[in-house]
Symmetry: C2
Subunit: 199 residues, 2 copies
Amino acid sequence: MEVEGLRARKKRARLEAFVDATHRLAAEQGLERVTVEAICAEVGVSVRTFFNYFESKDDAVLGMEHWRLDPAVGDRFAAGGPTGHLLTDMQALITSALDHPPLGKERMERAFELAKDHPEVMLRAYTHLQGLTDELGGLVRRRFGDAADESTVALVGTLLLALAHATFVRWDTAGGDGDVQDHLPSVVAELTAIVAPRA
Amino acid sequence: MEVEGLRARKKRARLEAFVDATHRLAAEQGLERVTVEAICAEVGVSVRTFFNYFESKDDAVLGMEHWRLDPAVGDRFAAGGPTGHLLTDMQALITSALDHPPLGKERMERAFELAKDHPEVMLRAYTHLQGLTDELGGLVRRRFGDAADESTVALVGTLLLALAHATFVRWDTAGGDGDVQDHLPSVVAELTAIVAPRA
DNA sequence: TGAATTATTGCAGAGCGTGCAGAGTTGTCC
DNA sequence: GGACAACTCTGCACGCTCTGCAATAATTCA
């Protein structure tokens, strides 16, 4: 099972075709004017097929199916690493995730540009990342054992989403140059300044 | 214009009737089985009227139209108060907001119970609170003047939502006793512990 | 009471999303 | 290569959410 079969290759190609067609049409006429029917006409498949690939129209903008954490990075986090300081270790998690977008950096960035102006899409992204948060919840429980009650887990998860979102915003206001995750440290610094202004 | 006219009273009563009918039906048969048509049959009005009151079905669960901050509290925040410590002053803002739910405490709590199990509803709540975040953005700019760049504003807003959400979760895991905002301090304490474990 | 304002309603229709069943592809095993 | 299983695509019918429009009914105010 080293090489992808024809089936898997076709599936991936079609997925990307859907996402790219959606982005192209949205750039031309604005996302609100893009219908699923139009996307399918562009790709050359039936509407029914679209919904075999995505649960909703917004998912075609995001193109993210399951954005998994790197298991090695997750294990290190669960074991209390890499540094032992929770906030720092959360950064490692986010950086790792932003480093491996399922469909490539360009599509992720285009998706964010669209999500910026379309709350439904941004919220849909939150839903997807919520899955990642659940995965994170497991890691937090492994890391803290019985010391972790549910609301701690929830807080860490929400905080992680907030950091990721703020990082995107900062990357965007900085002109969209370089990698998104490069802006994470300054966001964390700012958070620290807000929470504990004088250490 | 001291006393509400018949018109305003009827409107409010109908709004509450919609919300209560939605909650009742959701309790009976599960939210996913509740259609707008059923809600309207329960209330005794046409479906079209429903959409004169709410933009979406989920809004009838939440029953929040515009959840405004108390202007006096907002002004004090913008002026750098009440304590001068940003995180503490954010708490004052959240407490004030949670203290004055537009349709009463009971409905807010029932709405949260439903939102807990229904991501779309929770996300819809985020959308509404986003408006509050925009209002907060204005306050943050007034508070910091030119020192506040856009990503700072975004981070504070997102952090505020995260705190409010985590507070609800904690209130819920604590059994739903007392006021929601009573659990905010412990959430903030936990956040502080995460960000700056040893001061 | 009469005129202006505002709310309610039905209707027609666009768009999203799902279940189903038949037809077409791909993978596997001999 | 052939046969069978597994998966994918497609059209169709349908339910549901939500909007625009224009007619009707109810409140307000003078």
